[in-house]
Each structure stands twice: as structure tokens, then as C-alpha cells.
């Protein structure tokens, strides 16, 4: 580290989850087309975004990742018919849980990318890195969650 302000030189480490059929192939496509993007994301290939166990995301944060990218086929284009929708459900819940744990929602990103969208994939990664950089390293301390207001539950008639 140099003595410049930390957030300017901070290079976040991002773990990215991709599906075998669309988003991983988008990454392949970005590669074959030699599109340049920030080197901060390290990808994991799953067969389907539906395989994304929320534990994986928690594990990544716990292990020192500053942010997590979750990507899959566009809705309607899933290789496994509609499993990306099932990931989507989990994603929304997970995002909320993370928030309650004190993790800024900007640290997790959902990206739909088809196998032909290498350019979009590269561009979105760049945007994401710039979104995370100002947040600085993940500062996950026990008790942070208390700062977040508990979600308001509607009265459910018995």
C-alpha cells in the first residue's frame, strides 16, 4: 500500500459466479474478442445460476471477498428452462440478509448475460468494480447488522 488515500488505490477482490451456458460463455466471448476489463473479478463456473447456494456468497464474504457477482442466463433463456428464476428468488432474499448483516447492498450484483454478450459482461464488471472501490475493503464486524432497521412485517390475520 502507498500513502495515497486508500479508496483511490483500493483494488477490491470480487468473486463471480457464472453459469456454464450463458454468463461463463459471455466471459469466454469477452476473451475471444479481446475486450478489456478490470482484473478484480475471479470467476467460478456453476452449471446453472440455480446452483447458487447462498452459502457460497456468505463464504466468499467471510473469506475476504469485497464483493460478489452473480450472473446467469437472461430470464426466459435459461438452459435449464427457468432455474435462473429460482436463483433470482434466493438473490433477493440473500441481498436482504446481507444488508441485515451490515454488508452494503452495493457489494453484490446480479447480471444477466447471454453467451453473445461479452461486451456487456466486460462493461458491467468495470462498472461493478468502480461501484465497490469507494466502499473500501469489506468491514464485516459482528454487530454491524444492528445498524440496519429490521424490515417491517405486515400484520397477517390469524
Amino acid at each position: 500500500m502507498t500513502d495515497t488515500p486508500e479508496t483511490q488505490t483500493f483494488e477490491p477482490v470480487i468473486i463471480g459466479f457464472t453459469c456454464n451456458w450463458c454468463s461463463y460463455r459471455a466471459a469466454d466471448m469477452a476473451g475471444t474478442a479481446r475486450m478489456k476489463y478490470a482484473p478484480n473479478v475471479r470467476l467460478i463456473r456453476l452449471m446453472c445460476s440455480g446452483r447458487l447456494d447462498p452459502t457460497f456468497v456468505l463464504k466468499a464474504f467471510a473469506g475476504g471477498a469485497d464483493a460478489v457477482l452473480v450472473s446467469g442466463c437472461h430470464p426466459g433463456d435459461c438452459h435449464y428452462i427457468n432455474q435462473n428464476y429460482k436463483m433470482l428468488r434466493r438473490f433477493h432474499l440473500l441481498k436482504r440478509v446481507l444488508q441485515q448483516m451490515g454488508i452494503e447492498p452495493e457489494r453484490i450484483k446480479l447480471l444477466w448475460a447471454s453467451a453473445a454478450e461479452g461486451a456487456i459482461f466486460a462493461e458491467e464488471i468495470n462498472k461493478f468494480v468502480e461501484q465497490v472501490r469507494p466502499l473500501g475493503p469489506l468491514n464485516w464486524k459482528p454487530g454491524n447488522g444492528a445498524q440496519v432497521e429490521a424490515p417491517v412485517h405486515e400484520e397477517v390475520p390469524a
Binding site: D28, G31, M35, R42, L43, M47, G50, Y80
Partner: protein, 669 residues
């Protein structure tokens, strides 16, 4: 850690593709030193790992160093995973004990910062090493293949596919929704660019399919349900009641001669002609048996008539006939359900449906067809006036963000064909209004030049409006085409007698349903998606389901035929092998841990999870499972594990990617 794996790491230069950005020497030295704890016993870098010398290097090390795991850092697994698996197999190591880490597509090709790319490559390799430890030796799944094939759709693509398979000696069920096979091609008069008579080249194939001992023709039928998986599908087909006993009918045609009820034929004749309530769609129909259209038949409406029954010489009319549900077993399925024509009414400014002498391309096909309603005379809607000036509008509903963005591929050639036919048969002046002329196939460009020489006018511009509103002298009684000639920048008003709208191709209205029924997917446009747009155009992501013809996207007859034959060849290859090897990425449920909550049951889109009521546990059918892993992620009891993508594998990979448990040493000089 129990028994320590002996891991070899191989870093590929890929010429300068990787080595030009990533310091491969540094990476392999780093892996050898820093990943010792993880079990790396050897790390090398080599110019081309995929070359036979590179593969031999791995094989030699497996034997000499007793490697139990192999990590190759090179290109994308989609390119060379199989190569390195085979290399391992060749040296006696189970192929699934290897891992390919992509440091080309994901590092050297996309990053310019050499230091960062090198560091990232190290992390990716650490992830691969951590993951490979948890790989298990696997065997591909083997399932037997039923030799029969189902072909859905009896157009030219489906007919071709059925014939190829049947001629190879295997049974085929050819299912067609309409009463006859033939598809759109049967409606055409001529085919471009050779101007072959469409019926003359199609009907022999139809007859061959109809008479083939290996083909079971199921017309006027639809697929209701598909169960099972590659090699062993069970398909339920609804054979709709024809009201004609096929055993007795000879196809003599007396019934439709005697039938008093005339009906406008919106399907085969595109609304240009009529048929009877009992009918065959066209004289060369295969099979030759008619059907009674119950919605229009006087007997079904009023309870009297029965003219057909009275005159039938073989007593084949059966008013009480009911739909039949047939179950057939097949190993593979080809979907060749074709396309629908873009509804030109949607572009109101073109006046179709409002201005009598605006025709669609399919209407013109019938008009120019010698067997059509006018006997091939090209005349206006009044049935007698020969047009003196004809305008042909290209790209109607195609290449238009308001309707369909894609190019329908066939309209340019079709329009040129129309221009030629109009010119030849009526001597009329012909104007083509085009955006671009696209003639990219054998003999197509030559045909375009022939048209230019014939004196057809070509105006480059998208037609703004077609109207009958007279503004200038000479426009009385004409249709006026308003267009900007984009080559000269002039606004033109071209008065014509007849307009032909070269309507684009659209997916079948029920394409989505069909895709769901067969467990495959459609693009946002509605065309069914092939497994790979370049290298696997007829297979789909569901094993055993193939697509051919326009169902996959707009294409001309030669391309449809080629796809039909290609799909057949793929299937024949599979049938020949008697059994099929499936990638062993599958979910399995630990019966002792399953709580029987059934959460996974509804998550599976392939119905691969069955619930045993007696034991209250769920089980995965490995042949149906496609390995997406959604159930694995969802199981609250952690009872489901996914082969090849287990929790241990992925969690370890995360640790590796984050360089956890790796001694920090100063590596960057």
C-alpha cells in the same frame, strides 16, 4: 486432511496468447512453491499444453510422479476440457480428476496490466487446485437408446429427416398437425433461384414418406405430452378424428365432389380459394384420405346432410369417430414445426386487409400457382384484371424495430422470384422496394442480376405508406406507394395496380408451449435455441431433442433440407451406438438424510425427482437429471449432492480464489 493428493499444475503459454501478458514462468514457480501444502508436487509451464507434446508431458508426469490430480491453466474448458481429460485417461488417471483453469479468456486476453493478470492467474490456479482435490473419479452415464425417432412437423425439413432415418432402416413416427404433410413448400409455385416447380420436387418426397415401410405417418395429429429422457422418451400423440375410416377409404374423391358445403380455405389457399367441408388440402396430399372439418360440416351443425356418407363407395365415412391417444416410445425427437407468416395487417399504413389489391407473399404464391384458385393467372382481387404495374415491398415485418428486428432471410429472393413471375406472365412493370438486397447463397446473386437485366426496377427505400388517396394526375384507380429513394434522396409516389407485401417469417404462435413441452428453450423472438449457434446448430440443450428447419430461425428450402438431414445424421449416429454416454454431472439424494420435505420436487423443471410415498424420501432419476444443481442448493437438509459441482468443490474453490490457507511469500520482484 486424510490422504494427500499429488497434484500436477501445468501452465500453458498458448504461444504468446497467455505468455504475452501473464508471466507464466513466475506463475508455475509460485504454484510449485506456494501450493505445496495443498499437494502440488510439480508445476510446469509449456508453450502449447494442448499439443501432443504438451499432453505427453502430463501423461509422463502422471506415471513418473504418481499424480492423482491434474490442473491445467490454459484456455476455456469449453475449448479443451475434453482434450486434457483424454490425456489423463490415456495415462490411466480417471478423466474427471482433472481441472482446466481459464487464464486465457479470463486473464491474458482481457487484462492489460501484466502484474495484475499474473496475480489473478495465480489465484485462479489456487482455486483450481483447491477444487480438484475434491474431484471424484466418475464414469459417464450410459443409457440404452430406443431405435425409433419422432419427427414433429411434416414440412420439407421434417420429411427429409424422416426419410433419412427410415432409409437407414430405423422406424420413424412423423407427426403433422394438418391433414397432409408438405408444409409451406406445398403451397409454393416455384422455388428460387432455379425456378423449379415446387410441387414437382416435393411430391415425390411426400409420396416416399407416405409409403415408406419404416415411417408411421400421423397426420391431423399433435403431440400432447412428452415423458422420459434421451434414448427413452414416451410421447403421447393425439390423433384427431378425421371422421373417415382410413382402412376403408381409397381417396377416390367422390365425397368432396358431392359435399355441398364450401368453406374459405384460410390455411392452404391462404384465404384465396375455397374447399369443401370434407376435404384434402390439395390434390397431391399425403395421405390421400380426406378429413371432415366438423366446425363447418352441415351434419355436425344441423344434424342432416350426410351427402358424403351416401356417396362413399366403401362406407368409409365415420361420423362417430373419436380422437385417439397413442403412446409411442422413441429414443430421439426432431422438432421441425416451421414458421408462420408475419401478419401484414399489423402494419396498418400498408393497407393489407383494407386495400383490396394489396397481397401478402403467401397469397401471391397461391395466385401464381398453376394449381391455385386462379389457375396460375396473376390477376387483381376481382379475379380478371391483369395488373400493368406491380410493386413488391421487401422486409414487411422484418428488420424493423417495431415488429421483428431480425432479417427473415428468404424475402429478398422470394421477392425477386415474384418479380420474375409477374414479368414473365403479365409483362407488367415491376418495382421492388428494398432496404438492402441480400442474396448470399449459391446462384442467388446471379438470379438478382438476371432480374436487373429483365428490367425490374429497384428502388432503395423503406415504403412509408400505401394508399388509394389520389393527389396527382395519373393516380386515379391506383395504389400509390410513398417512398423515399434513399439513393437519390427523392420522395417518390409510385402508382401501381397491385402490391405484394413480402411478409417476414415469425415463430409459430405456440412456439413457447412447444419448447416447454419438449424441455428446450426459445430465444426472445420465439425461435427455438440450438445448442451452439455455430458448431451445433441442430442439437438442443436437452439431450435427444433436435431441431431442423425454420423452427430454429428463418431459412430457405436448401438450408431446411440440410438441417433435416443433419439432425437425422446426428440421431443415426446415436442409434448406431446402441447406448449413449451422458456427462455425469448429476444430482443425487442421500436417502438417509432426506427428510421428505419435497421442496426439491417442484424445483426440477425436468421432473427428474420422484418421491417415494412409501419411504417418504425423494430420489433423482439420473437419466432425467440435467445437472443444473438447483435442488442441491435448495435442499434444507443438505441431503442432495451434485456430482462435479459439490459444495466441497465450490467452497474450496472460493477459498483457493481468495488465496486462503496459502502461506504469504514475497513473489513479485
Amino acid at each position: 486432511m486424510e490422504k494427500k493428493e499429488r497434484i500436477g499444475v501445468y501452465v500453458c503459454h498458448c504461444g504468446t496468447n497467455i505468455a504475452g501478458v501473464v508471466n507464466v514462468g513466475e506463475v508455475s514457480t509460485w504454484a510449485a512453491e506456494n501450493l505445496k501444502e495443498q499437494g502440488v508436487v510439480i508445476a510446469r509451464d509449456y508453450k502449447f499444453m494442448c499439443s501432443s507434446l504438451g499432453q505427453e508431458l502430463i501423461q509422463k508426469d502422471i506415471k513418473e510422479h504418481g499424480l492423482t490430480r491434474v490442473v491445467v491453466a490454459a484456455c476455456s474448458p469449453h475449448l479443451h476440457e475434453q482434450t486434457f481429460r483424454n490425456a489423463c485417461k490415456g495415462a490411466g488417471l480417471n478423466p474427471y480428476l482433472s481441472e482446466l483453469v481459464s487464464i486465457r479468456e479470463q486473464s491474458s486476453w482481457v487484462h492489460t496490466d501484466k502484474v495484475a493478470a499474473t496475480e489473478k492467474s495465480k489465484a485462479l490456479i489456487a482455486g483450481g487446485v483447491a477444487r480438484v482435490i475434491h474431484h471424484e473419479p466418475l464414469e459417464p452415464l450410459r443409457v440404452p437408446i430406443h431405435p425409433a425417432t419422432l419427427v414433429v412437423g411434416g414440412g420439407i425439413a421434417g420429411i427429409q429427416a424422416a426419410l433419412e432415418i427410415a432409409n437407414a432402416g430405423y422406424p420413424v413416427y412423423l407427426v403433422e398437425r394438418e391433414p397432409s404433410i408438405g408444409g409451406h413448400m406445398a403451397q409454393f409455385d416455384k422455388t428460387f433461384p432455379t425456378l423449379d416447380c415446387s410441387a414437382c420436387i416435393l411430391t415425390p418426397k411426400m409420396v416416399e414418406a407416405g409409403n415408406h415401410p419404416n415411417i408411421t405417418l400421423l397426420t391431423y395429429s399433435e403431440v400432447e405430452k412428452v415423458d422420459g429422457y434421451v434414448g427413452n422418451f414416451v410421447v403421447t400423440i393425439r390423433k384427431r378424428a378425421r371422421s373417415v375410416n382410413e382402412e376403408l377409404c381409397t381417396g377416390c374423391g367422390i365425397c368432396w365432389e358431392k359435399c355441398p358445403k364450401k368453406v374459405v380455405d384460410n390455411i392452404f389457399e391462404a384465404g384465396m380459394g375455397t374447399r369443401k367441408a370434407i376435404y384434402v388440402p390439395f390434390p397431391q396430399a399425403v395421405p390421400k384420405y380426406p378429413v371432415i372439418d366438423r366446425e363447418n360440416c352441415t351434419y355436425y351443425i344441423k344434424g342432416t346432410c350426410k351427402a358424403c356418407e351416401k356417396f362413399c363407395p366403401t362406407n368409409a365415412i365415420d361420423f362417430a369417430q373419436e380422437d385417439q391417444l397413442l403412446n409411442v416410445e422413441v429414443g430421439n425427437i426432431i422438432l421441425a414445426t416451421g414458421y408462420e407468416l408475419f401478419d401484414a395487417r399489423r402494419i396498418t399504413q400498408y393497407g393489407y386487409g383494407r386495400l383490396a389489391n394489396v397481397f401478402t407473399s403467401l397469397e401471391f404464391e397461391r395466385l401464381s400457382n398453376a394449381a391455385g384458385p386462379t389457375g396460375g393467372n396473376i390477376v387483381l382481387r376481382d379475379g380478371k384484371t391483369v395488373p400493368k404495374v406491380v410493386g413488391i415491398v421487401h422486409c414487411v415485418g422484418s428488420r424493423d424495430k417495431n415488429y421483428n428486428e431480425y432479417c427473415s432471410a428468404i424475402c429478398c429472393m422470394q421477392s425477386l422470384k415474384f418479380a420474375h413471375l409477374v414479368h414473365e406472365r403479365t409483362g407488367a412493370e415491376v418495382y421492388n422496394f428494398y432496404i438492402d438486397i441480400r442474396t448470399p447463397a449459391k446462384g442467388y446473386e446471379e438470379f438478382y442480376h438476371r432480374l436487373l437485366e429483365e428490367g425490374t426496377h429497384f428502388i432503395r427505400g423503406k415504403v412509408a405508406e400505401i394508399s388509394d388517396a389520389v393527389r396527382l394526375p395519373g393516380e386515379e384507380g391506383k395504389l400509390i406507394i410513398q417512398v423515399e429513394d434513399t439513393l437519390t434522396g427523392n420522395q417518390l409516389r409510385v402508382p401501381v395496380d397491385m402490391v405484394i407485401l413480402s411478409a417476414g417469417l415469425e415463430p409459430r404462435r405456440d412456439a413457447k408451449e412447444v419448447a416447454n413441452k419438449f424441455g428446450i428453450s426459445c430465444s426472445a423472438d420465439g425461435w427455438l435455441i440450438e445448442r451452439h449457434p455455430k458448431l451445433d446448430p441442430v442439437a438442443t440443450v436437452t439431450e435427444g431433442i433436435y431441431i431442423a428447419g425454420c423452427v430454429q430461425g428463418p431459412k430457405d428450402i436448401p438450408a431446411s433440407v440440410a438441417q433435416g438431414a443433419a439432425a437425422a445424421a446426428r440421431i443415426l449416429g446415436k442409434i448406431q451406438q446402441k447406448e449413449i454416454a451422458l456427462e455425469p454431472v448429476r444430482a443425487s439424494i442421500n436417502q438417509d438424510q432426506c427428510s421428505g420435505c419435497r421442496i426439491c420436487n417442484n424445483l426440477c423443471p425436468f421432473n427428474a425427482i420422484l418421491f417415494h410415498e412409501d419411504r417418504m424420501v425423494s430420489e433423482v432419476n439420473p437419466a432425467l437429471c440435467q445437472g443444473c444443481g438447483t435442488c442441491v442448493a435448495a435442499c434444507p437438509a443438505g441431503a442432495i449432492s451434485g456430482t462435479g459441482f459439490s459444495n466441497e468443490q465450490i467452497l474450496s474453490q472460493i477459498e483457493g480464489l481468495l488465496l486462503l490457507n496459502i502461506p504469504k511469500k514475497e513473489t513479485v520482484a
